[in-house]
Symmetry: C2
Subunit: 479 residues, 2 copies
């Protein structure tokens, strides 16, 4: 992991860059003192840190245009940043870069219930999109665990998912259009409040491109009517493999729960101590939630319970009240925090075909012994989106490196069984060197040529996504 | 509309091309006699015709690789063709081109019910994908009207939809992976049997790229469990606008029918004479279908009927039996054929925000009088995917030109209200010159640069999608 530090050349350039940026932005929208830039030195992948040269906080698309034009002319790398909740280092600065934070772009521009859309500025937080429409009975479906803090801009960059995406899809399935500013300051309207689009699907391409093709300043999102009701059921099993097999059977049966969440013993115990959710003492736990009217809920849960009983569960608890439902979810939603209270951990998000769940869970258990590091599993089982949490001790020399090597092996395993490196967190810096496990050199070359089209000088978030070696010749301007 | 005819230079090249192609393909897989090539002179947009230089019918991915390598070396344009059902001229040959037909690539490679996927060769017809899994209770959701004939390859090229895509999404929402052969003969595996993918979303980009980025030889598709049951309801209204308002209200209410189909008087009457579906005598008709268990169906139809009654319908007929349901759908599915029996027509597929339906339907009626050509409307109303059928007389000089001008105005109207040129048929040659109504020169340049990445010499389906003038400098090798 390279970790550039400011050098004289950067310091010399900095004053010229700051002078030009302050000429187009309000004074308080350009942060260049060290105390200020340090707040942006990392995102939620805190193992890696590097303060940027400058931070800008534009409030309008036009200010974003002005910033990008200046940086393009001056050859300054730009790292776009939503709320900095990336678990993959997607918003990690380099020492010579300008962080372009979209936090001040947080207005609702339009709500249109008849067409079921909302148009927002991209810095608006995920949960506050729902907040803007929930009184009228609507919601925005993708729900990352960080939804209180994370920005729509980051959701689009990483094509974020969440617990309830099994039914409603991830960001790309709920995004209808964006306003994109390319590195040379061009403003593009892509997609809109309609089905599909003529020409190539650039909207799909932009979604998940990790801020490398342009800066999204506005987004048109699909909103959905709130379902009448929802009800979770807790199902406990003796072992991970049985739970995994039960998930595969539920999916095969064709009922579509909104969520199927999985927790193993380590996560159940840690969470229970932390949140007192009343989870049973067992080795593997599923939370399966269905939505709809009472009749629909009864019918769907009927099918699910019938399947679950075939697997001889040690616990089968259907929620009987809103309080009970809240408690069931409280545990799941506290899991990451609970594990984090007592351990350093690295959270992966490799994704696999659902039928491979039992095998992959067993192999992770075996590898845990080989590497000598504990692993907790808490994840979106219904769509095969795993979240192994590898525990390590940040104060113990060498432990992070073992953790990284272990994580790499898990992600390669995911690719081997026909899955992929990341389901919703993105590649960022965390997995860039693993891209060769998934893609051939020709595949990577073609993807990089797509970036060439949008950003010929590779100034936008340059040292991410692709193996550093593969992208080296293109990143001549970046550190 | 240019219509190139074979010239001496093409004839000279032809023998060299045929010699090389027959060296890598079975004899019966290379068609070069005029009687044979003429069968490929057009697709379902029959107003435009041009026999290709040669037709090849490879049976394997490796044969596709061999063909593309030869054509790439020799600078011969290649027009990929599924089943030739394109309504937009997507598979129209040029006189100097090789038609690459995928009809012999029709095997099922794998079915996997636990992961709910099927992998097929791309020439397999849409309906026979469902055919391969329906005994086991599954189906493939996208259902273009041409589903008996159209190939998955064409569905992917055009991102095809269908009547039931309101609930299940169009092709891009049901496509998990492809094997793509690029013009230089590289084989790429894009996506797979898992959620999302690392790196850029090339799968989304390929879907809907109209055979311009590569030739898809295999596809991994999402299959779904067949719903327990389905029930349509016929709702008749006095006028188009009321029907449009009712659709917008149903969508707003948050029930999700699998289909909301719309027919106006011209289509109702023409269809009724042809198919005897027992449609009522009214000015606008909706067919709304819901799926699920009996309880779910009752509940959803309850909400829909309640909304419909507010609009004072002249007919409200819930299907009481499988026979009645089949008859209701028979009419809708016969509509295009029925209109075609008595008229030449051009079928558009502009797509608009659902709330604009009443306004756009009224404007189309007004424009019909201005241009002096009748219009029938029969379309997927739930997702705003319109299908105006402009009637004209192919034997009357000038009528086609008036029809084209009228069609262009309708599509521009769709863009004006925030919609787009095509919902599911694609741009092809039909709408290439209208792309400037939707996209700025900068937008088009960027899209063409994406094609440059995949196909630098612009040999794959070159004269489609983009305005001829805009793409001229790139198409130096194509006719």
């Amino acid at each position: 992991m390279e970790m550039p530090t400011p050098d004289p050349a950067i310091l010399a350039k900095k004053s010229a860059v700051v002078a030009r940026l302050t000429s187009v932005l309000p004074k308080d929208a350009v942060i260049h003192e060290e105390a200020g830039t340090r707040a942006y030195e990392c995102d939620a992948l805190t193992a890696y840190k590097c303060p940027p040269m400058v931070v800008v906080l534009p409030s309008t698309t036009q200010e974003v245009v002005a910033v990008l034009k200046i940086c393009n002319e001056m050859g300054v790398p730009v790292v776009p940043r939503g709320s900095g909740t990336s678990l993959a280092g997607g918003a990690l600065p380099t020492a010579d870069s300008v962080i372009l934070g979209v936090a001040r772009l947080n207005d609702v521009l339009e709500t249109d219930y008849q067409n079921r859309i909302i148009r927002v500025q991209s810095g608006r937080t995920n949960l506050s999109v729902t907040g803007a429409v929930e009184e009228d009975g609507f919601f925005y479906a993708p729900d990352p665990s960080s939804q209180l803090a994370c920005a729509i801009a980051g959701n689009i960059a990483m094509n974020s998912g969440g617990a309830h995406c099994l039914k409603y899809g991830v960001t790309t399935n709920n995004l209808l259009g964006v306003t994109l500013v390319t590195m040379d300051g061009q403003v593009m309207e892509i997609g809109g409040a309609h089905l599909d689009a003529a020409g190539y699907d650039l909207l799909g391409l932009v979604c998940g491109s990790e801020g490398q093709l342009g800066v999204v300043t506005e987004a048109t999102l699909r909103i959905l009517p709130k379902p009448e009701g929802a009800r979770p059921v807790l199902i406990g099993f003796d072992d991970n493999e049985t739970a995994g097999a039960c998930v595969a059977d539920i999916i095969k049966a064709g009922v579509l729960p909104v969520a199927i969440e999985f927790m193993d013993r380590l996560c159940i115990e840690t969470t229970e101590k932390f949140a007192n959710a009343g989870y049973p003492d067992c080795n593997a736990l599923l939370i399966v939630e269905v939505e709809g009217s009472e009749a629909e809920i009864d019918e769907q849960l009927g099918v699910i319970l019938q399947i679950a009983r075939k697997y001889d569960p040690v616990e089968l608890r259907e929620s009987k009240s809103a309080e009970e439902s809240a408690k069931i979810w409280l545990g799941r939603k506290s899991a990451f925090g609970a594990v984090g209270q007592i351990n350093d951990y690295m959270c992966l998000d490799g994704t696999i075909p659902v039928s491979s769940l039992p095998y992959v869970l067993r192999r992770i258990g075996e590898m845990s012994k080989e590497f000598g590091l504990e692993v907790g599993n808490v994840f979106h089982a219904g769509d095969g989106n795993m979240h192994p949490l590898i525990l390590f001790d940040a104060n113990k020399p060498g432990d992070l490196e073992i953790c990284e090597a272990f994580g790499a092996e898990i992600l390669k395993l995911c690719v081997e069984v026909g899955g992929c490196l990341t389901g919703e967190h993105g590649v960022g810096i965390e997995k860039r060197d693993l891209m060769t496990a998934q893609f051939t050199p020709e595949d990577l070359e073609l993807q990089m040529q797509v970036k060439d089209v949008f950003d010929p000088a590779w100034l936008l978030n340059p040292a991410k996504v692709f193996p550093l070696e593969a992208s080296a010749s293109r990143r001549t301007l970046a550190a």
